[in-house]
Symmetry: C2
Subunit: 345 residues, 2 copies
DNA sequence: GCGTCACTTGAGAGCGCTCTCTGGAGTCTT
DNA sequence: AAGACTCCAGAGAGCGCTCTCAAGTGACGC
């Protein structure tokens, strides 16, 4: 039974330092209310034994886990083909680390996974959840919201616009889109088309909305639904050119479809930006910088979004830092976007 | 004190089913050795109460956590600009899910994080670790390996070639590079240059090695060190052209640098593939398919790498499925690569 | 018909930790 | 200098679960 070297326990540290378990616990958790010489002795014992608290035992009594679930509900591989989540995870990771919390990643695809994730969250294994779901009809966010776990959403969830306690962090998709289109207008363009994203995603809907805000009387002829992919952008662009050969600008809902649009324009002999100006969205670097010409686009601070999500969640979690103002329920945040001007418009 | 509805415990289920805690526990953990009618009664009670086992309590006694840490040690943002990790995570996630394990993501940058991660792993919060580290001089893998946690590495770690119990999963970088260069040779090219990756990464070293395997007498003139970025590829390409103006092919160590190389070639008026054929590595889709011309490259099955890493780790973990052959220590796996032919070579 | 044995079930200890409660010093007040 | 008070440290009760061990129940063989 004497396995490998088993981990030292609080008991062991206490024995070595010649104090009680309770005292060691106090020191390990901040050392409040323990006199200096003892603190020192305990610290040394911890050091010498290489003591690390057993999180399981701790959670058992505190009911806190210092862990947050990140749920990425994405049936499509597409999303994994862009650095979006990686950046967001990085932001989340940084913030959680700063709060000594762990990041439990739950990747889902398909219905079965919903059940699994629902169980997991409802099982109280984590202190809260950060949920990414891009589709309007995704049942997952609702499920999670119903599970009673503190949650912050990444991107505006399609439902729950009215639901009071839904908290999310999103880019200003609508405002960014307006900026993009206004930029084209400022360039003197008047026949401006729009390649949307899949309209079952709020980001695509919001960007479309922004387009409309500026182009109030653009007819439906000037809008083609794309799917956020280069191929989709390419065929959408062809369609737009067929419908409106004298089109002089295009706002594509993301960089990937913009890159496809560029290809279609080249194929049809249109010069960019001379004949047709193009603006994308995302500022997805490996794409936006590599296209020919490089893409003018709308940048969003993705890492910051992640960081903010974590901050919101953790902030809402701790009534520990009590005495503060009545920690009002956190509310959603919409981050600003900026236009990045390159050669395409 | 009567908080919200507190979670039902084993005790509660036992009471409701009219059996002992032990019996409920047995049923919940598979139901071996419990008579059918009782199993049924317990199942119903679990269902009715919505009982979910408390993982913390369970871990406390079993010393298992059903959780695996994924450590991504990457100081550079570059890596986050490609879908590499996302895909690998996906593979890992799938495999872990199939084993009812959770994925705890640890993102590190800088020395401080090493300490933190080391503590965490040594703290026995997880059953094992999957570690990605691309740099030869990274101390982290050594630390982790020293921490005594079962570990599988993603990519061949730079040290420890001789260390017997280091297990890793890698692509056949060297073989893939050979294929790439042989393809160029097969095309009748003879003056073939190589843009390497940063040579402090094993993948770059191995690819370079593969290049040399085929071009045994290529002089050092034909090799320029790049850094896996488009900009690096671009300047490396210029350098190559300066040194060897009649060069007729280039093998770039990854797609990103290949895309930079294409740009330099275009700028110098070389036609691809007519004047200079180009092969990349990675088959990073948003890049490889978008370049002009689309890139011939070496594909690796990244998701499969992830899946395999998880499988190796979990396989080495469970002596539960005892009675099997003496679960020999898992050994490293090198996955094959394939040449994807597009227009650039 | 009685001992033996396989098979179920329950009782209870204990995983490592936190946290309340209590007692013992020391400090301050008057 | 005595009582009131503050502060610090230890004792001990669990948190919810697993798992060993003992007890109970029949089935079976001789």
């Amino acid at each position: 039974m004497s396995e490998v070297t088993s981990r030292p326990t609080l008991e062991a540290v206490a024995a070595r330092a010649g104090v009680s378990r309770a005292t060691v616990s106090r020191v390990v958790n901040g050392g409040e209310g323990v006199r200096e010489p003892l603190v020192e002795r305990v610290r040394r014992a911890v050091e010498e034994l290489g003591y690390v608290p057993n999180q399981a035992a701790r959670s058992l009594v505190t009911r806190r886990h210092d862990a947050v679930a990140v749920v990425i509900a994405e049936p499509e591989t597409r999303v994994f083909a862009d650095p979006f989540f990686a950046l967001q995870l990085r932001g989340i990771g940084k913030e959680l680390t700063a709060h000594d919390s762990q990041l439990v990643l739950l990747l889902t695809e398909g219905r079965d996974d919903h059940v699994r994730v629902g169980r997991y969250l409802a099982g109280g294994h984590v202190d809260g959840a950060l949920v990414f779901s891009l589709h309007l009809d995704d049942p997952l966010p609702g499920l999670i919201h119903g599970a009673g776990v503190p949650t912050v959403f990444g991107g505006r969830p399609g439902w729950g616009d009215g639901v009071p306690d839904v908290v999310y962090v999103d880019s200003d998709n609508r405002g960014g889109a307006r900026d993009a289109v206004r930029h084209l207008v400022g360039l003197g363009r008047t026949r401006i088309g729009h390649i949307t994203g899949p309209l079952d995603q709020t980001s695509a809907v919001d960007r479309f909305q922004g387009f409309r805000d500026v182009m109030v009387d653009a007819g439906p002829r000037m809008v083609v639904e794309g799917d956020f992919t280069p191929a989709g952008g390419e065929s959408a662009m062809r369609e737009l050119l067929d419908r409106c050969p004298d089109l002089d600008a295009v706002f594509a809902a993301n960089d990937l479809s913009a890159s496809g649009a560029l290809r279609a324009l080249r194929e049809r002999g249109r010069r960019v930006p001379d004949d047709v100006a193009v603006v994308g969205f995302d500022d997805m670097l490996p794409v936006a910088e590599q296209t020919d010409p490089p893409l003018t686009t709308i940048r969003q601070d993705i890492e910051e979004m992640g960081r903010l999500m974590a901050r919101l969640l953790l902030g809402g979690l701790e009534p520990r830092g009590a005495g503060r103002e009545a920690t009002s329920a956190p509310s959603s945040v919409v981050l600003p976007t900026t236009l990045v001007r390159r050669a395409s418009a």
